[in-house]
Symmetry: C2
Subunit: 352 residues, 2 copies
DNA sequence: GCGACGATTGATATCGATATCATTTCTCCT
DNA sequence: AGGAGAAATGATATCGATATCAATCGTCGC
């Protein structure tokens, strides 16, 4: 009987689409009342709201974003991104744009390097008239940026920061838990000497991951000698250095957990170069499940984040904030996404 | 005084946009005439068309895609993509969505593997009601897919195929010229023993690149022994195999030109593993300028394609085709994008 | 010089929602 | 009970374009 939901999402071949007016007629109210219910207008009687919601449900009504946009203008959401390479950018874009299409908001993508003052990019977005901005780390932890946005009345949504500011909407993962999950995986395989490659210390995710690693090791009663935790900066190149350092140790670790996949890939390349077999002689673990993790061989065991879904959520929240008059604290949320341990070919029990 | 009344009505600082009606008034015609000029309606007097175009130009009019969509419905364009990893997917998405936002068309992104019959994904898009589809290789060379689309009246736009079917709109690069450019670069550095790693032979780009390589070598009077051209499949893993093969030769090449960056990255990893210094002892060249090229170290010398712009062009053409009644051959085009040789750190003159 | 017919143009309705203002209904206070 | 003010709802105009149909203008054949 009922048509599947997806059919109404894509207004393909002129589906006899249900309009606001159909709902109004069905519920026995005016179309404005329906519009108000949809937009969470404050002064609606419970009776009317209930009737309308019921009709919306029964008719399978979906608001037409295009029509709405003719009056309200399209909600504009800015998206800053820092690293065009080696990140989950394509998954991010996929999710972000899918949602943007669904809800009919316009995404303004703005690249920004850490160096030439990210404030520049933010100002550009503000001037373009965005109502909200999705901020990747480390920008979302930067009080200067947040102040700038607040002054302009633009709502921030922080993306994958490990320490969201309380008043700022955020979409993230539990980096501590993720690192713990991976560490546990290695411990369960039988590893004892597990080394850790740090990430860029200015990213809160890097420090949380290290904390998760250390806490789990401690909990298992395993020591983490200072020499087994080396600096990294999330880049492939920093991973090369870190790997050479760790694999040159007299007492070599049997597993290396790198704070992200790029560095893990570098570790893999160095191990390969030194004739160390992966995973028989050395297990390597990454974090993020970026494309490189399944590109290289052996494929990396890593922690997967549902980046596309998270991006979609971030855009949805941002669009909501962009539409409102801000100052509406009830719409500020903190969303935590689920993590998955992806066991691939780069980890195994340590040799004899 | 300054601000007109309506400005305070609209939220934000939306500029007074020039509408169709403004143009009509300025040109002294009705708005329908303006609309017709914009949409290339056949029966418009030259005088009227000229007046309107002049007014459009003077007022800086830009059609409002949102308003248009309320009547026409959004033009839907399908985009198939095959490899979620390691390709230029994010640049592609970026360009595609930017343009889609500009012209107000909806993109339906559909993943497809080579294995579970790509026809499935195509059918899905057709059923969703797209008017045109952007096809990456090798789908755009597949007559079965093209026939399927033709039967459904959906226009194909092939993307980066080296051999576009004559009747099919295409956006591509000159793979032959690109390979020739890179080969010339290596020859000019002084290399004589240049090896080549093939790509997936089912992709027309792979064969064109090989032709470009061979032609340039021949032109320079350099021999290409059979042992110096090895199989590859565009994957990192196939690159590992190819590299081991080439670097194990008694007479080792001083430069290896891989048909894409993933394989070049693999060559780099193997060289690293064998203690062969790049670029002093071995030059490595890639093709595509994917993220991995600038991620690994040393960064790859490669051929850059303006993927984002090409994607934007493809979407624009597809949207145009989706809007028309097809059968309008004058809108079928073949666009060739410019290539750039990116000289990075992986190539140098051969050691004494 | 008349009608036919195609080329050209315009008036008006419409798409599906929101903005605005008017109106009705409810509270609560004096 | 009267009435002020807030809550709740509806009528109508509007956003910027296209669809539709009717009206005008030529020009050509007879």
């Amino acid at each position: 009987m009922g048509r599947p939901a997806w059919e109404s999402l894509l207004s393909g071949k002129r589906r006899p689409s249900v309009t606001l007016h159909d709902v109004a007629k069905h519920a026995g109210v005016s179309s404005m009342t329906v519009s108000r219910v949809i937009n969470d207008y404050a002064f609606i009687s419970e009776a009317a709201r209930a009737k309308v919601l019921k009709s919306i449900d029964e008719l399978g009504y979906r608001p037409n974003a295009v029509a709405r946009a003719t009056r309200t203008g399209v909600a504009q959401v800015g998206v800053l991104y820092s690293n065009p390479n080696s990140s989950n950018l394509s998954a991010f874009l996929m999710g972000a744009f899918r949602k943007a299409g669904e809800i009919g908001c316009q995404l303004l993508i703005e690249p920004t390097a850490a160096h030439p003052a990210p404030a520049r990019a933010v100002v550009k977005l503000i001037e373009a008239g965005v109502g909200a901005v999705v901020l990747p780390p480390p920008l979302c932890d930067d009080p200067k940026i947040l102040k700038l946005l607040a002054a302009a009345g633009v709502e921030p949504v922080s993306f994958t920061t490990a320490r969201p500011s309380p008043g700022v909407t955020s979409v993230a993962i539990d980096d501590f838990a993720g690192a713990a999950m991976m560490t546990r995986h290695l411990i369960e395989l039988g590893h004892v000497d597990i080394a850790f490659v740090r990430g860029d210390p200015t990213h809160s995710t890097a420090t949380r991951r290290e904390e998760g690693f250390r806490a789990t090791m401690a909990q298992a009663g395993l020591a983490v000698p200072d020499a087994h935790v080396v600096e990294g900066a999330f880049t492939y190149r920093s991973g090369l250095t870190a790997a050479r350092q760790l694999l040159g140790l007299r007492r070599r670790p049997s597993a290396i957990f790198a704070c992200n996949d790029d560095m893990a890939a570098a570790v893999s390349a160095v191990a390969h170069g030194l004739g160390i077999a992966v995973p028989t002689e050395l297990s390597i673990a990454g974090f993020d499940d970026t494309p490189v993790a399944s590109t290289i061989w052996p494929q990396l065991t890593t922690i997967h984040q549902p980046i596309a879904d998270m991006a979609a959520t971030a855009v949805e929240l941002a669009a909501g904030l962009a539409r409102r008059d801000a100052d509406d604290d009830r719409s500020r949320k903190h969303v935590l996404a689920d993590l998955t341990l992806m066991v691939r070919q780069s980890t195994a029990s340590p040799a004899g």
